[in-house]
Symmetry: C2
Subunit: 370 residues, 2 copies
Amino acid sequence: MAKEFLGKRLVTADEARATFAAAWSPRYEPETVPTADALGRVLAERVVSPEDLPPFRRSLMDGFACRATDISVVPVTLRVVADVPMGEVTDAVLGPGEAARVPTGGMLPENADVVVPVEQTRSVEITGAEGVEIHTALTAGRHLIERGEDVTVGEEVLPARHRLRPADVGALMGLGLVQVSVFRLPVVGILSTGDEVVPSEETPPLGKVRDLNSYSLAAYVQSLGGVASRFGIVKDDPELLHAAAAAALAECDVLILNAGTSVGPKDVVAGVIQRLGAPGVLVHGVDIRPGKPTIFAVCGGKPVFGLPGQPVSVLNTFDQFVAPVLRQMLLIADEPRTLTARLTEDLRSADGREDHVRVRLQQRDDGWWA
Amino acid sequence: MAKEFLGKRLVTADEARATFAAAWSPRYEPETVPTADALGRVLAERVVSPEDLPPFRRSLMDGFACRATDISVVPVTLRVVADVPMGEVTDAVLGPGEAARVPTGGMLPENADVVVPVEQTRSVEITGAEGVEIHTALTAGRHLIERGEDVTVGEEVLPARHRLRPADVGALMGLGLVQVSVFRLPVVGILSTGDEVVPSEETPPLGKVRDLNSYSLAAYVQSLGGVASRFGIVKDDPELLHAAAAAALAECDVLILNAGTSVGPKDVVAGVIQRLGAPGVLVHGVDIRPGKPTIFAVCGGKPVFGLPGQPVSVLNTFDQFVAPVLRQMLLIADEPRTLTARLTEDLRSADGREDHVRVRLQQRDDGWWA
C-alpha cells in the first residue's frame, strides 16, 4: 500500500529532490564588490591583467647588479657606478666592468642581467672609485625577475567561477584591481509561523515556546556562506502570513517558512505558499523521518520551502533539502560526509522510508560504532 | 659550518617555533555577544539551562490526548471533553473515558499520558457529546514529550570551550539566552613598510609597486576566523615606523610588520620591533626558503612578526609561523593537510634547510604527482 500524506502518495526524498530540480535551476547574477572584501567569493568573469607584473626588471636580493659576462671568471673586481635607491627609477647604464648596488625589489640598471647577493661580495678600494669584489660566478638571470615574468598585459590571472583565496585577493590588489565582479550571494529569508511562538527575548507564558528555529536556520545559512534574513514571527492567519511571506519573498532569493506544515487546523502554510507564485507547491510530504511534512515549492522563479516546526526535524530537512540547493547557488561542490559505523542497538525503519537518526560516534578497537 | 644570517646562526623552523612557544602562550579573554551573532565562536564558560525545556508536557502529533489505561483494548470510543488551542494553557483534567484534541506542540491536559495521532482515530457521534474512536492501542508516553525531557533547570547545555554550531545557536535562543559569553577573537594588525610601496588604488610610478601583501595577509587572517586590521603603509624611517607600530600594537593582539626584514640599508624593522616592548626579538632569520628573514618577537605579551616582502615568501612564512599561533588563539586544532606525491623533477635543497616549494598536483594512474 502506498504511503499517504494529506490523502496524497508520500514521495521519497530522492523523488522530491528530482521534482524540485526539474522545476528550478539557479541563476548566477554578477555584482561588483571591493576586492579587499571578496575573500571566498566566486568570480563572475575571468580576470585578465591590465599590466605587466613586475613592471620592470627587479632584483630578488640585496646585492650588486652586473653583467654576467663580467663575472664568468671569479674573483673579479667591478667598479660600483650607481646606487639604486629602493622604490626609485634608475637611469644608470652599465658598461663593461661596472656594477650597481641594488636592494631587494629594486629596479635593475640597463644592461644588468644578474644580481650577486651582498654575502658573495666584498667591498674594495680601487683607484678613484668604489669597488666590489665578486666571489661567485653566476649566470645571466640569477636573483632577478624579468618585467612581466609574473604576468603580462592581457594574460588570464584567474578564470571565471574561481573562488577567491587569500593569495588571490592580494594578487588582484597588486594589479590595481580594487573592485571585482563576483556572483551575488543568495539571500535566504526565514519566516517563523505559529500562534504558540514568542520572540526569544521574551519569557513565554505557559503553553507557548520561544522562537529558536529561525536562529538555527539563519546560522546554518551563514555557515554555508549565504546571507540569512529573519522576517520575524507571524500568527497562523492566512492573510497575515500571505502578506508577510510575499513581502519577504520580494527581498530574498530563497524563502523558508518554518512550522505549521503539518495537518493541524491552523496549518495554513501550504495554501499560503501556493498563492506566492507559479508553479507553487511541487511536493508536500516526504517519506523521511523526522521531516515528513516538508514542502518544496517554486514561486516566481524562487525556491520556497515549508519546513516542520520541531527543532530536530527542521535541521534535518534543511540539511537534506535546502542545504544542497544553497550549495548549488553558492557553487560549492556537494560533498556529503559519510562514514560507516556499526549500531550499538537495532533501529527499525518502515518499509521504504528514510530514517535520519542522530548518533554519537565512538572509535573502538574494531572500528566506528554509532 | 653553521649557516649564518646577519652574523648569527640561522635557526631551523622548529627551533624558531620552540623559542617562540617558550616565550609566549595565549590568553583567552571572555566577551559577551548576541547569541544570534555567535556562530563559530567558542564558549568562555559552560552554559546551564535557566529553565525546563519543554516547560510543559507537549504533544508531538496532531491528535487526541488520553489515558493509556483507557486504550489498552481497541477499538474504543472516548468522549472529547476539551480542545486545546495551540499556544494556550489548558486547565482540562481528563477523567476515565475522556480525551482532548491537541495540536502538535500543544500542552497536554492533566492526567493525559499518551497522544493518539489523528490518522489512527475516527470522529463519531455519541449521546450528548463529541466522540472519538481510537483504533490503535498505545502505551503511556507515546507521541509526547515530558516537561524537562530536553533539558532541566541547572543542567549543562553546552560545555566551556565548545564551538557554537547552528543548532547550538538555536538551542540557546530557545532557552532565552540571547547573550552568550565567548572568547574574544584575536585582532591581527598588519603594517606594510617600504619606500617603494604605494597604495593599491594608485598607479605606481616606475620603480615602485602596489601594496598587495597587506591584503593577502588580511584575507588569510579572515579565512582562519580572526579579525584583520590594516594599518596602511609606512616609509622606511625608524621613527615613523616605530610610532606607527607602537600605535598599531596598542590596538591589536598580534602585529605583523611586512617587508624590510632583510639586510638592505633601509631595513629597520628588527630595530623597530626590539623597541616595542620586552622581551622583543626572539628569532631573526630562519632556515627555510622562501622566508629566511622572518622575525619572531614578543613585545609586552603580544606576538609580533616581521615577514619578508616577497609575495610568495610572505604567504609561506604566514602559513608556517603565524597561522599556527592564530589557530592556538582561536582554539582551532592544528591539522596540517599533507599528501605524499612523487616529483616530476629533482629538487635540490641545501643541507638542513627546509625548502617550501609550491607545486601543482595531478592524480595519475600510479598515484599523485607534483
